[in-house]
């Protein structure tokens, strides 16, 4: 009998393990949820997938860890590169994985416009609440009062609520889960990766940085997961989000789920109109 291996390993490049992440880093848990979803969807290998990431800790998730084509791009530009990949070869499943600093600060414009276009991408935002790779500076998602390398007296800039922002765009799918909500998160991955899914799909995973958030708080990774289980409250409709957040909790759930035609479909019908117009 061969030695049993963790279920994620079939999607990974053995030769680059162990991961480059800090002990206890939740990046690996996010990967587990995604791979579990893929496994349950019957996805055997990832040859039809392209993973695109930018710069930051979570941008190392696909490149080179995942056994698939992957583009590790410039800071903030993953969504733009992914857009190019998808338009040039719509057959590919294009998944962007990045952090909050990468996707929302330096890459915020691209994120917003990909959502506006309902671009056929799955964007996974691992929200670790700080810039971790550059040693713990303020991120646009850092909670008020947080001490970071650049807010040593406590953050006074109100954070952005990315998922809530994206609800009001053309995005087809917007969900937020905490890393502690493993099964729900996995379910979201299944929805966002299933064959019928299209358009812009956004999954935010609240996964505080183990080094610059969790350890600063004097907690262990396990304790943090238990704490998140309490702090993350599932809402059934977006009208409940504010209510939950006013109570100091993190609202999680599937905030938006539609099946509008994605950009690729819209472009194809536009192109056929163009062909008709030119034949006249």
């Amino acid at each position: 009998m061969s030695v049993a291996k963790h279920f994620s390993r079939k999607y990974l490049r053995e030769e680059v393990l162990p991961t480059p992440f800090c002990p206890g880093c939740f990046n690996g848990v996010v990967m587990n949820a995604m791979f579990k979803a893929m496994e349950e969807l019957g996805i055997e290998d990832l040859r039809n997938f392209v993973f695109v990431s930018g710069i930051g800790c979570s941008s190392w998730i696909p490149n080179p860890l995942i056994r698939a084509d992957s583009l590790h791009t410039l800071h903030g530009r993953a969504v733009a590169v992914a857009t190019g990949v998808k338009l040039a070869n719509p057959r590919l499943n294009v998944v962007v994985i990045g952090g909050d600093g990468d996707l929302v600060a330096i890459g915020g414009n691209h994120l917003l416009h990909a959502a506006r276009r309902n671009m056929d991408l799955l964007v996974v935002m691992v929200n670790n609440m700080v810039y971790a790779m550059t040693r713990g500076q303020l991120a646009p998602t850092t909670p008020l009062g947080f001490r970071t390398a650049t807010t040593p007296y406590g953050n006074f800039e109100p954070p952005i609520n990315v998922a809530k922002l994206l609800i009001n765009t053309n995005a087809n799918y917007v969900a937020r889960w905490c890393v502690s909500n493993f099964h729900k998160l996995k379910q979201s991955f299944k929805e966002a990766l299933s064959e019928v899914s299209k358009g812009f799909r956004f999954i935010e995973v609240v996964a505080p940085c183990i080094t610059y958030v969790v350890r600063y708080e004097g907690k262990t990774p396990g304790q943090k997961i238990k704490e998140l289980r309490e702090a993350c409250v599932e809402v059934k409709s977006i009208s409940e989000i504010d209510d939950v957040e006013r109570r100091g909790k993190i609202a999680v759930g599937v905030f938006k789920k539609e099946l509008k035609p994605g950009y690729v479909e819209l472009y194809e019908s536009y192109a056929s109109r163009a062909r008709e117009a030119s034949q006249k």
């Binding site: 392209v50 583009l71 590790h72 338009l87």
Partner: protein, 375 residues
């Protein structure tokens, strides 16, 4: 052969389409927008993709993504947008992504004069990225050349897996001239690795680009802008990996200089007066050359079509006999650095600089500079 009356911008677009360009991403900017308009009209009906990006950062990165997905991809911009695209160009160099980028030069810095021609981006085209790098830069002097060199740029991009800059300017872009269009242009398709063991980021001969594995075909390619080994694995610590990679990327262009370097020489072999120029100014320079020779001056013109890499040997040889060298350029002096470096020590180098207001350098000004104070 079809003959058409085209602006330089239209000629670039026609050249791109002839070369098989099937992806364009761009952001509106004067004086390059007509290239984008043309592609917006043509690509959807020809089965290609066109997208108006949210900014130039997005445009160049979309082009990079499309190129990896197998497209023949291009973007076009002008000064401010070219500045924003430097970041993406650096990434394209590091990842050996073929693409064509057209910069229609206008008077800068900053917003400068959006509708006025200039040649101030020469150094930026060569050196705009951080780190050690080299990419080919081609400079047309007419709509006909804008057409021909855009085709050429795609061929170079594909062969050497590199971004290629086409450096046009507002005069060429908005001027309309007669362009002879080719019936069919064959550009060899990209070489894929024989099997996954053939390294996509390494080559025993630095003059030959490694094969490029397309996405979605099971190569499981790892692309990164960080320092990587020949299989794409990141290595951000070792001296050997970094030096080997960056040296090869620069050598890939530098050692192909004979193949890449295009230039035009007119006039007398033993010229006393030489005019060195590139781009639209060459048109005035040619007339100036004729005017000088008709006055009995032994004169020649050296026009650089390829601005980078530079063939020092050729320039040195062509300037050997010249006692006076005139360098007309629509900037405050950029090409002149090459001339100063490569001319013989006792030659008199005269700059003719004029930029802004849409006023070209006229032949008489070049003639005057050539004769003024000559012994």
């Amino acid at each position: 052969m079809v003959r058409a009356l085209l602006s330089g911008n239209e000629a670039v677009a026609e050249g791109a389409l002839a070369a098989g360009c099937n992806f364009f991403a761009g952001y509106p900017i004067t004086p390059s927008s007509e290239i984008m308009h043309y592609m917006a009209r043509e690509l959807p009906k020809r089965g290609g993709s066109f997208i108006q990006a949210e900014d130039e950062l997005a445009a160049i990165n979309m082009v990079i993504g499309a190129s990896w997905a197998g497209a023949r991809a291009m973007t076009a911009t002008s000064g401010p947008g070219f500045s924003l695209m430097q970041e993406g160009l650096g990434y394209a160099i590091m990842t050996e992504t073929p693409l064509v980028i057209v910069n229609v030069m206008r008077a800068g810095p900053a917003t400068g004069q959006a509708t006025k021609a200039a040649q101030g981006d020469l150094m930026q085209a060569r050196w705009g990225r951080h780190g050690d790098q080299m990419i080919p830069v081609l400079a047309p002097s007419s709509p006909q050349e804008a057409y021909d060199l855009t085709i050429e740029a795609f061929a170079i991009a594909e062969e050497l897996r590199t971004p290629v800059v086409v450096l046009s300017d507002e005069f060429i872009a908005h001027g309309r001239e007669v362009v002879e269009l080719r019936e069919k242009v064959e550009i060899p398709s990209r070489r894929k690795p024989r099997d996954p063991s053939e390294p996509p980021f390494g080559s025993p001969d630095p003059r030959i680009a490694p094969p490029m594995p397309p996405l979605g075909e099971g190569y499981y390619v790892i692309v990164t802008g960080s320092t990587h080994n020949e299989y794409g694995y990141r290595d951000v610590h070792s001296f050997e990996t970094h030096f080997r990679l960056v040296k090869r990327l620069v050598d890939k262009i530098r050692l192909n200089v004979d193949k890449l370097f295009r230039y035009e020489v007119l006039g007398d072999d033993d010229a006393e007066v030489a005019i060195v120029c590139f781009g639209s100014v060459s048109r005035s320079a040619k007339q100036a050359l004729r005017m000088l020779r008709s006055r009995g001056v032994r004169a020649k013109l050296l026009r650089l079509v390829t601005l980078w890499p530079m063939n020092d040997e050729v320039v040195r040889r062509e300037l050997r006999s010249a006692k006076t060298i005139v360098v007309p350029e629509m900037n405050l002096g950029q090409l002149i650095y090459d001339v100063q470096r490569l001319a013989r020590e006792d030659s008199r180098i005269v700059a003719v600089n004029k930029v802004g207001g849409g006023i070209p350098i006229y032949p008489s000004e070049i003639v005057e500079a050539a004769l003024g104070g000559s012994r």
